[in-house]
């Protein structure tokens, strides 16, 4: 019965959302406070209803209720309990339900804690959220209902896709969705501001923490997904420029720009239009990502055509929301009062530059992702746009941006002095240059680009440290004063510096792995030896093993360095019984930041086994950097949100009165 109650709750939530989309909006227009007040309880009620539906589906998974079609298709009674939970969102229908659950959760948060928002703004924001909720509830109920039933019920389910039976999947999608959907709040605030035709200071104060929270979880989600692909797919790569990855990367790029814009907006009341535009763009890209991943259009444009209902439905949602929001933007943007003025060389100016670079980078990814799809749809020709395209387009856009990053935090608000900043960064520049030269020197034969790349990474790291050091007043204050000022620094300053620091760490990891990793394919018999990096691997042979819902062949390797045995690596080839699907479980040994990665291939007739071994120096820096970035986001999130940026003192002679608001 819980299943049917969940289904009923889901439909009830649609009814509630429909009311929430109309009444508060009408109330704000005709100034009726009763109608506007419906928004908050409706948002909270929708959340409770969808939570009930989600719990009902989870219970069906945990108890292996195969009379629910979705459970039958994606679960198996022998599946370990944790994957019964994660299986709830490890499939199309369930993941859409999770999407909506997070969406209404955020609406409920706005409803509960939005008492410091003007009444009409709050009503409008919640109404816009309800449009999104209603659209997706329609989508789920009409095309992807997780509560479809089977009668009579099959006795056993068809199991979850084995490559998804992993702890990574348990965490990755919820994080990613928290990010995607978190941006919906920014979108709703932007649209509400456009409807109202004004942006208050209270508006900015709300948007920045939401952006931060969404960005933080999205960063962590993408890093998680990348690591998951790295160890589960057995190709040894950590980023494939695959459309599914790009789908999450595009909102991240736009979201990063939005984050910086929102910062200016909060502290300086400038870049209002930019912030609104980026808020709309970021969520639009989140929707586009959902469309790409969920419509089946990526598998093949033709697969999309054979079961068009889902795809066309999301496409309509896409057109209505993105088209509607941009139209509204075109109509209303000029009615918004422009923000504060600033000189081109200033922190504000640097952030505009940052926005331009990030949106351009995002556009290159967008083109690389959509062009093959459009081409296939129009001409039927199948092309794949691989890493070469992105390396040639995305890379050149990012390098100047990365070089410019350390300048941003050091420039003063309103009007800055680029030369003074350059002088203050000389130490960072010097260290980076030294490291770049040292790397080039020691890695004989290594491309000089690697040295430069690592130099850029170190430049980011040193730049963020310089930022903190200067804020603490290094060089012109006594140690005790410095310490006191360091402690007293706002958390957002630490957060920003941490994020830039993490970016530098990731860049170092990316460059090091690209330049210095080695790959080796060998056919080894038991007892055979492979040399990789500084290590010697001895193949100990294959032995069968079986888990709860799979059987596997494990290949053991003992790893030694300079004749000394230091570790054992076990890599496996699994076959999941229910789907007869093979997967690779890579064997990974981590030493410091480096990893030795072993994947088993096929057995050869001579009794040997094909083994692929990668030596990946500094590879963990990639994800470690992303984690530091997320931590920076969290630190910044816990700052008091009252700051304004103090403008720099005007130079003598330039003292002409200028309006600031």
């Amino acid at each position: 019965m819980i299943v049917e109650l969940g289904h009923y709750a889901l439909i009830m939530a649609l009814a509630t959302s429909l009311i929430q989309s109309v009444l508060p909006l009408a109330g704000a227009r005709i100034r009726d406070n009763g109608l506007m007040a419906v928004a908050a309880p409706a948002a909270i009620t929708s959340f409770l209803l969808i939570l009930l539906a989600f719990i009902a589906l989870t219970v069906s998974y945990v108890t292996s209720d195969f009379s629910v079609q979705n459970v039958w298709e994606n679960s198996h009674s022998l599946k370990p309990l944790i994957y019964k939970f994660s299986g709830v969102w490890g499939n199309h229908e369930g993941s859409m339900l999770l999407w909506i659950l997070i969406l209404v959760f955020f609406s409920a948060l706005v409803a509960m804690f939005g008492s410091n928002l003007p009444a009409s703004l709050k009503a409008n924001v919640l109404a816009v959220q309800a449009w999104i909720t209603s659209a997706f509830l329609f989508f789920v109920l009409l095309t992807s209902n997780p509560f479809n039933r089977l009668n009579p019920a099959p006795l056993e389910g068809r199991d979850l896709n084995p490559i998804l039976q992993d702890i990574g999947l348990a965490i990755h999608p919820p994080l990613l969705y928290l990010g995607y959907v978190g941006f919906s709040i920014c979108f709703s605030f932007a649209v509400a501001a456009l409807i109202d035709g004004r942006i208050d200071a209270a508006w900015a104060r709300w948007v920045r923490p939401w952006t931060l929270a969404a960005w933080t979880t999205l960063t962590a989600g993408i890093a998680m997904g990348s690591y998951w692909a790295y160890y589960e797919l057995g190709w040894g790569g950590w980023w494939f420029w695959d459309p599914v990855e790009n789908a999450s990367f595009m909102p991240w790029l736009a979201g990063t720009a939005l984050l910086h814009s929102a910062l200016v907006m909060e502290k300086r009341e400038a870049l209002k239009i930019w912030t609104i535009l980026l808020a709309i763009m970021t969520f639009s890209l989140s929707l586009l990502g959902t469309f790409l991943v969920r419509s089946g259009v990526l598998t093949s444009v033709h697969a999309f055509a054979t079961d068009p209902l889902r795809g066309i439905f999301i496409l309509c949602i896409l057109i209505v929301f993105i088209g509607g929001a941009f139209t509204l933007f075109a109509l209303r943007a000029q009615t918004l009062s422009p923000g504060g003025l600033f000189a081109p060389v200033s922190k504000e100016g640097a952030l505009v530059l940052n926005n331009l670079f990030l949106t351009t980078a995002m556009a290159t990814v967008l083109i690389g992702t959509l062009y093959p799809l459009v081409l296939e749809a129009v001409t039927g020709a199948k092309i794949s746009v691989g890493p070469p395209f992105f390396n040639l387009t995305f890379g050149p856009v990012m390098i100047p941006l990365l070089l410019a990053v350390p300048f941003g935090p050091l420039l003063a608000w309103k009007r800055g002095d680029i030369w003074a900043v350059t002088q203050r960064l000389y130490l960072a520049a010097g260290v980076s240059l030294l490291v770049a030269l040292a790397v080039t020197y020691f890695a004989t034969g290594a491309p000089v680009l690697a040295g430069i790349g690592i130099g850029i990474g170190v430049w980011l790291i040193m730049g963020s440290l310089t930022d903190i050091a200067l804020r603490a007043g290094i060089g012109n204050a006594s140690p005790s004063v410095m310490w006191r000022r360091l402690i007293g620094l706002p958390r957002s300053a630490f957060g920003g510096a941490l994020a830039h620091f993490g970016l530098g760490i990731s860049v170092v990891g990316i460059v090091a792995v690209t330049a210095f990793s080695t790959e080796l394919v060998a056919n080894v018999a038991p007892g055979g030896k492979i040399q990789s990096g500084p290590f010697t691997l001895e193949f100990k042979g294959l032995k069968p093993n079986s888990g709860p819902n799979y059987s596997e062949l494990q290949g053991a390797f003992s790893v030694s360095r300079d004749g000394e045995n230091i570790a054992e690596i076990v890599s496996a080839k699994r076959v999941y019984t229910a789907r007869r699907m093979p997967t690779t479980e890579a064997g990974i040994m981590t030493t410091g930041p480096n990893q030795l990665y072993v994947a088993l291939g096929d057995e050869t007739p001579g009794g040997g086994t094909v083994v692929r071994v990668w030596w990946k120096p500094w590879v963990t820096f990639i994800w470690f950097g992303a984690i530091i970035m997320s931590v920076g986001g969290v630190v910044s999130l816990f700052d008091r949100r009252l700051r304004i940026g103090a403008p720099a003192r005007r130079k003598a002679g330039a003292a002409i009165a200028e309006p600031t608001t």
Binding site: M1, I2, E4, H7, Y8, A9, I11, M12, L14, A15, T16, I19, L23, I30, D32, N33, G34, L35, M36, A37, V38, A40, P41, V59, T63, D65, F66, S67, S77, L78, N116, L117, P118, S120, L121, L141, F147, R149, L150, N151, P152, A153, L155, E156, R198, D200, A202, R484, R485, G488, L489, P548, N549, R580, L642, I644, A646, P647, R649, T661
Partner: protein, 386 residues
Amino acid sequence: MMFWVLAAVMTVAVTISLLIPLARHRQTTTQVDDTDAYDVEVYHDQLREIERDVAGGSLSADQAEYARAEVARRLLKASRGENRSVYSSGGLGRIGQWVVILILPLVAVVGYLTIGNPGMPSQPLAARVVPAAPTNGGGDIRVLVAQAEKHLATNPQDGRGWDVLAPIYLGLNRMQESETAYRNALRLLGPSVARHTGLGQALFAQSGGIVTAEVQETFVAAQSLEPDNPLSAYFLALGLAQEGRTDDARSGFAELASNSPADAPWMPLVREHLVRLGGGEDMADQSAMAGPDAAAVEAAAEMSGEERMEMISGMVAGLDAKLRADPDNLPGWLRLVRSYMILGKPQEASDALARALEKFDGANEARQALMDAATQFGLEPKELEQ
């Protein structure tokens, strides 16, 4: 019934939660919301924050002065109170009430009745499998299998369990599971003739009737344990025939025939092979043939791939036509669905399944058998309305 009671309680609770704000604002007629007041509050907070920063040392005195001046300017502008909104509850609020009272239950109930399955109980696996055992007394083989699977899930190292389950899977035509079970039993309990020949049959069935190298290896292993095992002899000879080594195959079958009692159940099949291979006509007894299927399949083995597909398709079409005329034949339907799947025609298979399910509407046991078959063949039965 209980479901509708709970659904009704839910509907009423949600409706009330939305009506409360509407009703509350009936009484307070007008309300002034000074939109700028929110900004004023933010600016006051910012001014306080500047003082805190100055005290903390992260803001110099003249920076603070500039910042203060800027915030003060904004504060002044916001304090003029130009953006005052007056709200009241007009007659439209009453319309709002009716919208809530009518739309909410209407959408929920009509929506649910259209796409829901009211009254259909949850069917957690534990409730279906465990209590069935004592009453059935081991009657339903599928329930027993499910129980054994449950046991093995927690005790995967129980070789005897796998050993018992493997031939049952084989009998149930669940070849993949049978293969796994035999492999586990072999690994845990060591080799035996029964395990090797069972595994060989499971592999043979999965390869679509081809004696692959793997199948051959398995039967060779069985033969090394028991040289006279007729199953091994049969499959090894069949393998030779499929390889085109007619003479070797013929002598293999002949040896099997001479080693077996004349009334052994496999003898007709062996004789028939001997006939096909062009030897031992004297032993052939056409009337004792194992059935047209075996002969036809054997004939098919000698055709080209295209001819073979054509012949099989023709047979399946015949079966299909027969079932259209006389649908009351469950094994026939099962065979038809399976044949279509083997022929790689999932569309026809699911169509046949749908027809069969329609035919056996109300006969739950038959439907269950069909559903299980569908699951086993990896077919997706369309969502079934109650």
